[in-house]
């Protein structure tokens, strides 16, 4: 019994356990999503979270301990963002021809994302710091946290809202675009990248390579634009 206890005290604290758990949960989630024909609701991020979270809860493991292992995967977000350069490069000819739609759709998507969030939150009479935390929700997490802090929001709340936005965008984009009968993969990908950052981009790559490339452009450009417009919007709309 003592041996089991000391073995568990090793396993529960070593980063290896939670790194392995994260990879295995993702492999199972991804296999399940494929098995379901990559249905919109079968989101690999969502499925993985639903697999890992109960294990942490049942074993009484706190997030800090989990993250000691999971940070190695979290860290890969940086190199993965750099890697988006390749699909952009591959699609350079079509991108050059669609500079105008890209820039105008960026402006429209970005303004509506931040503006509608602030106005809706005001309509619901949410507390000021909650509205400020909500405003940058459509941009990639590190940028959103920086903006939230700068305008007086709560970064932890922003982190949760950003991830939820990503999952909502990834789950709704396919049904929405099919409903609207949008056949242009550039437009479909761009829309989800601008509204739902990296998680939306991951969904786009799951569906179509061109959509993924355009989602990547949208995410990168929106990181820049949102950090410029949210401080202005906050002054106007609050």
């Amino acid at each position: 019994m003592n041996g089991v206890t000391s073995l568990w005290s090793y396993l529960s604290t070593t980063p290896l356990t939670w790194l392995t758990a994260t990879v295995l949960a993702y492999l199972a989630a991804d296999a399940a999503a494929r098995h379901l024909g990559n249905a919109p609701w079968a989101n690999p991020v969502l499925f993985s979270v639903f697999l890992v979270a109960p294990v942490l809860w049942l074993t009484g493991t706190d997030y800090a301990t989990y993250f000691e292992g999971a940070q190695f995967i979290h860290f890969l977000l940086g190199p993965a963002t750099v890697a988006l350069a390749l699909p952009l490069w591959d699609n350079r000819d079509t991108i050059k021809r669609s500079v105008a739609p890209i820039l105008l759709a960026l402006l429209a998507g970005s303004l509506v994302a931040a503006g509608s969030a602030i106005l809706l939150a005001r309509a619901f009479a949410l507390p000021t710091e909650v509205i400020l935390s909500l405003a940058p929700k459509s941009t990639t997490a590190p940028v959103a946290l920086g903006i939230s802090e700068a305008v007086g929001g709560i970064p932890t709340l922003t982190a949760v809202l950003v991830i939820l936005t990503g999952i909502i965008g990834a789950v709704t984009v396919t049904p929405l675009m099919n409903l609207l009968r949008i056949a242009d993969w550039r437009a479909r990908g761009f829309a989800v990248g601008v509204a739902a950052h990296g998680i939306g981009t991951a969904r786009a790559f799951q569906v179509n390579e061109v959509a993924g490339a355009y989602a990547g452009i949208a995410m990168a450009l929106n990181a820049l634009l949102t950090s410029l417009i949210v401080p202005v919007f906050v002054r106007w709309l609050m």
């Binding site: 990879v23 979270a53 706190d62 993250f67 750099v82 490069w89 994302a113 820049l224």
Partner: protein, 117 residues
């Protein structure tokens, strides 16, 4: 695989240094992305060197959001009494943003095509 990883990390490091050094409001990895495009521009064969590894990374982009996603579960209490309003706002705002972007993209594309005909 390793040369690609070295190149990606090198570009990111360059991006982080540039973003901090010039205090730009752009995240380091996004500047790193721009740096890699410049490298591909000046040296196109690099594209084939990195293709396999980059393909694996981008096909599994969802994996990298799992640690942050798990963090959300533990922090759901920050949504407190506002969770229902916040959920409605997130869904509505995300759909509106996608609608605005896709309508603009398709509209402007059609306008340009019609003009060039």
């Amino acid at each position: 695989m390793l040369p690609t990883l070295g190149l990606l990390l090198g570009c990111q490091l360059f991006g982080e240094v540039a973003a901090r050094g010039l205090s730009l409001p752009i995240p380091g990895p996004v500047l790193g992305l721009a740096a890699l495009i410049l490298i591909l521009w000046t040296n196109p064969p690099v594209a084939e060197t990195v293709r396999t590894t980059v393909g694996v990374i981008l096909a599994n982009l969802s994996l990298m959001f799992v640690p942050a996603g798990v963090g959300v579960i533990g922090n759901l209490d920050v949504l407190s009494g506002d969770w229902f309003a916040l959920l409605i706002i997130l869904v509505a705002s995300t759909l509106l943003s996608m609608l605005a972007a896709v309508a603009t993209f398709v509209g402007v594309s059609r306008l340009i095509e019609r003009r060039s005909e």
